[in-house]
Amino acid sequence: MEALNEYLWMGGDGIFIWSAYSAAAILLGGLALVMLVGKRSVEKRLELLGDKHSQTRKEAGAHDGP
């Protein structure tokens, strides 16, 4: 436990080092999350649009039929 505390303390500079690594992790992780969620949302809406499109075509086909 003491060894871990000493490692995290980093000779008194731990606060600066861990803050820098945390800031980098939050920014890179946050951007990755935003981009992945955005991609998933566009994919879902595109699928939904495709479904609606095929439904409209089916309905149009039913109207055109005998």
């Binding site: 980093m10 500079d13 820098a20 690594y21 980098a24 951007l31 990755a32 595109l46 409209t56």
Partner: protein, 252 residues
């Protein structure tokens, strides 16, 4: 000669990038833990900067990637303005948020490194100020891109900002080496390839972290472009549906 236009077609891009994204994504996920392990547990403290030198492993690659991102954004913008290439604007728009994030990481980690090393969080010197302006250029590009109802107009205005702002890339690069400008920032340690002023016990973690950052940039650039292409298809689909609705309404 390779016909680049053929490969820059949105359909071709979607087809070619589809297997690339998981490969580069896997490389990103593999390189980050290795780089972090080497940076935090293996590399030695510096004789002068002590443990604070470990901030270098997140700060320096972020600065490199910020400059690379801006260079890419300006190049894509120039290609879009000159040759009116369909994918160039999308690529410039996709690299901007990634570049802004790298620049912000560079500024924050630099400030956190500056306090224990120089005794101050910030100084208005050539290097730091020009990097701050680079961050504002990224933000300005993104704001301007979305500020117009007509997307093409927004892309053109933002592209001009990107090209004009490219002047800051050499200013940032050479502000501590060639230009005789007052700065607290140290000079280049790695770019002198013949005799780098950095020991290999620190060079390896730095290079692996830089490779991880580069793979991150490529992964999310490809992903961003793919999302933008899909969003454009979505808009086109909605437009077609709306036009069909109008036609049906008028025929009835």
């Amino acid at each position: 000669m390779i016909n680049l236009h053929r490969y820059a077609n949105p359909n071709q891009f979607m087809r070619l990038s589809s297997p690339l994204v998981p490969v580069v994504g896997f490389l990103t996920c593999s390189l980050f833990p290795i780089g972090l392990y080497l940076a935090l547990f293996v590399s030695p403290p510096d004789y002068e900067q002590r443990e604070t030198v470990r901030i270098m492993y997140v700060h320096v690659p972020a600065a490199w990637m910020a400059l690379l991102s801006y260079t890419l954004m300006a190049t894509f913008s120039a290609v879009a303005l000159i040759w009116r290439h369909p994918l160039a604007n999308v690529m410039a728009r996709s690299v901007a948020p990634i570049g802004a994030s790298f620049t912000l990481i560079c500024l924050i980690t630099g400030s956190l490194w500056g306090q224990p090393t120089w005794g101050t969080w910030w100084v208005w010197d050539a290097r730091l100020t020009s990097v701050l302006i680079l961050f504002f250029l990224f933000v300005g590009y993104l704001v301007l891109y979305g500020a117009f109802d007509d997307m093409a107009k927004g892309a053109r205005a933002a592209g001009l900002i990107a090209i004009v702002g490219f002047i800051f890339v050499p200013i940032i690069k050479f502000s501590v080496d060639l230009l005789d400008l007052r700065t607290l920032h140290q000079g280049a340690s790695v770019s002198k390839l013949s005799s780098p002023a950095i020991h290999e016990s620190m060079m390896w973690p730095l290079m692996i972290m830089a490779a991880a950052y580069l793979c991150y940039l490529i992964t999310f650039l490809l992903l961003g472009v793919r999302t933008e292409i899909m969003a454009a298809r979505l808009r086109a689909g909605h437009r077609m549906r709306a036009e069909k609705g109008v036609q049906l309404g008028s025929s009835e």
